[in-house]
Assembly symmetry: D2
Homo-oligomer: 305 residues x 4
């Protein structure tokens, strides 16, 4: 039986590995999985924003899903698959595949070229997707800064269950922590919220949050493991110090263009996921050398030992 709350603790939103010619490099996935397991990360969220999902074809996303599930089989790693897109038949096909692959959950964001104008339309959209994977827990992925769709999540959780029987929670990539806490309390507390801003995950733990889905868990999980451990031990000063490291790291990467710098950092750790596809910019070899120096100065390589 699938876990009720599949997205707990640290969930890595994985990068999509590309060759230098821009094609998919499925061979790297084993390396990504091993790296994560070695860092104590036991769930992956694939084909999300960090995976450049909108820059991938539907076929590529399905190939990634298949390969991740193959690699995970027989290990501790669990696979959650993002199936959101602007094209409903594509999303339904990916949802159906996720169910076949026995993914622990699926999720989908709002379409963002044509946009649902109200909750009714958004719930209808999600219901069509979720119905293609009737045995798989469904998360709505709220990320208004990318989709420009900004609707009330507490209201969503009140109204959606009757039309979305597989709904188990939200991937919450939204800075509104009042909504976050109200969502945690909604439905008698039965929903699972996976927070999407690694840089202030600690702020959600204190509200009752139970984990996050994010990109920095790919390369900086030790920082967050220590943070969570300190938090759970009641050592808030130490937890805060670890969160500050995360913030400093993200700020540094953002100066280089976050996606390109994050993928380059993976390479520096021996997991060569390549450069991102356009319209993301890539780092030059010189920039990667400079980034490495700045990461050393920051203390990053010590932090993640």
């Amino acid at each position: 039986m699938k876990p009720l709350h599949p997205l707990r603790g640290l969930v890595a939103a994985t990068h999509t590995p590309f060759r230098t010619d821009g094609s998919l490099n499925l061979d790297v996935i084993e390396r990504q999985a091993a790296h994560l397991l070695n860092d104590g990360v036991k769930t992956v969220f694939i084909n999300g924003t960090t995976a450049e999902c909108t820059s991938l074809s539907c076929q590529e996303r399905q190939a990634l899903a298949r390969r991740w599930c193959e690699v995970a089989r027989g290990t501790e790693l669990k696979v959650s698959i993002h199936v959101g897109s602007n094209c409903l038949p594509d999303s339904r096909a990916m949802a159906a595949q996720a169910e076949e692959l026995d993914a622990i959950s699926i999720s989908a964001f709002a379409p963002s070229y044509f946009k649902p104008r109200d909750l009714d339309m958004l719930i209808g959209w999600c219901a069509e997707i979720a119905a293609a994977a009737p045995e798989t827990p469904f998360y709505f992925y709220d990320i208004p800064v990318f989709t420009h769709v900004s609707l009330s999540m507490p209201d969503f959780l009140e109204r959606a269950p009757s039309r979305l029987p597989t709904l188990v929670g939200l991937k919450f990539s939204n800075p509104d922590l009042m909504a976050f806490q109200l969502c945690l309390a909604a439905g008698g507390g039965r929903f699972n919220l996976a927070f999407g801003c690694d840089e202030w995950l600690l702020s959600t733990l204190v509200l009752g949050g139970t984990g996050g889905v994010g990109s920095t868990y790919n390369f900086a999980a030790p920082i967050y493991h220590r943070m969570i451990k300190a938090y759970e031990a009641g050592n808030l000063a130490e937890a805060r110090a670890e969160q500050l490291r995360s913030a400093q790291l993200v700020r540094l990467l953002a100066r280089y263009g976050f996606m390109g710098a994050a993928k380059a950092t993976m390479g520096l750790l021996g997991v060569d996921v390549g450069a991102p596809r356009p319209p993301h910019s890539s780092l030059t070899a010189d920039q990667i050398r400079q980034l490495k120096g700045e990461l050393e100065t920051l203390g990053f390589f010590d932090w993640i030992r």
Copy 2:
């Protein structure tokens, strides 16, 4: 040889026909083509915003392109294909297919989930797509209200040609008519601008515009033909009266949800393109009856005789 300025006069941004189960209905394309030719519209812009391109899979877009080109063969109809998407390999594949199909031009909008932050990134994006159809005229499709990418088009036309040798102009779905006129003057006047707001096409004719790509040319071309004729004859009062009809028509359709109402109007004219895909909403049978009544009251069916 391909025309230098392929998007002149009235170009219909065609609807994608769906069956009631939401699947593509390629059989309707002949009917759409015949209707347009009957109305004197001789160029189609397929797979654009009106075609719900972001709601289609890449395979569906390629099937539509193939069918439109088959239907057009041997007629006066010319086919321009929009190949923009968030996924560069998909866009390149569609561009390559367009060249094989001998489309008169291609176009692409900016990616809109991940966004190019400056002109350099945008031109790089376009160059990758255009290079996949090296013999086919390329238009950048500027539509900031949908893509949330808002960069200077006069600057684009100054900087892009060296990296975009096939660039011939813009599909300009942007209300900034100062930029429109500067673009017309750019490069010694060598660029072709197809305006995207049917509701005030007349305002661009007076600036030197030569036509438009739009959705209402599917069902209301006679209004615009009369408008252009009156304009060219120097009868501005009559031209203005026709433009007002267009504005009143669009306002009426917008009250029902523009896309659903526009497709329903096609149905009322005997061209059954079905309802739009989600997240667009569809009109109920009752709403279609009511819309028909309002169109009659407005005088629409007389206007398009």
Copy 3:
């Protein structure tokens, strides 16, 4: 009796003259008025966006209003006063003063820190202001790019008259020309629309527009007079050429920071209105010299002879 449509033809949205210490310099107003009359501009719109109204205190705005009306007395110049602000009592005080000063009209934009969420709230806001000047024609000043208040103007004109008996029209600083034409047609055509984008005024003439309120009419009126004359004579190519000059001029000024460059241009014409207040940036002496050179190269000083 006041004219029914006070904002016809070219209306200059005047600059507020400041001394080098940033204080009001009322002495320059005579010079501004003489310059405009010499250029054939017979109506001024004072205390608007070009006047940096939000950077002025209410007292300063009232001093400007008083002085403009004194200067205009006995000349052909007519004065329209913008009284919009975020503070309703201030706006009402300015409206009452405008009536005392016998201004030909008042106008007000929407409050923009706290924003009216719907037309009902916006109409209520306008009604409170207009009621303080019950004998003075009122214009709503729609400028969504600054106020971030974007509501339907055709609907406004349908619903407002019963609560806004002095409403005569709109200062329309909004690029949506479909709304513009529908507003011209609203109420049987009884409303006066003054267009706010000088850079494409021609595009509104062809829709039935009768003039504009703008900043470039302060220093480039001859261009627009020729444009309107050509348009009225049916010489559209010549009208278009003049409009292009306007666009090229605005583009050049915008590169220096439009407000600072426009005020510097006034200085180059012998009307020393000083620099703008922060947060607008000012041009250095070097920049003004460079701007002068670029204006000469463009042909500006010949255009306005």
Copy 4:
């Protein structure tokens, strides 16, 4: 000597009391002060967003400042004055008055009709205001959702001190908690951050935050006092439960229109601050009755005992 970090703990952003005719009702300020002191709130932030500062004239803001300082004299209450506006001379005059009145600090938000485009312009703007109160600690008030000015606060704190010698911190009404933590760490930790989202204050305590400025501290301080006490005692579950009450309260008020409902709530507590000025909407007597019932059902009146 003034405290280094004047905005610590709970700081009430006070409401401006109006009579039914919309005029200032300075008589209520004693009542407001007594209510706050009774609730253990010892610092007020006057003339801010909650005070409807943009709906007030400069003279009204100065009258409020004078009265609050008179009322506070001889009590434990300390007064911090917001002097931000779109008009620099007004802001400078209010800053100078604040210094004369011996306010513990001043603050100013960014101008929001004309907007500073970069940090340099914003710092210049703040410097002009702060210079008018050279002995008074200065806070920049970052509230991008209202001003539409969104610049990096960690960068602001790095660059501003050389030009803003009186800068002591930020009123941080911005949901970006990564920026919040980086700002706390900036300058060796010497800056004071007052968080502006009462609804998730707890999330900032865990990051090292030391308090907040907000509107709900006017009527719900006991909830937050218990929350902070529980937090400091390491009882996070209890702290979280109190924060949830705050979130539920804010959600309820927001359904009625937050500002009007918050002022009505003050009235229900015997502090009649009247209704807000337009464009805020007011509650009808019926709505106030209904609100009272909903507050009772929620448990609000018990929570604040």
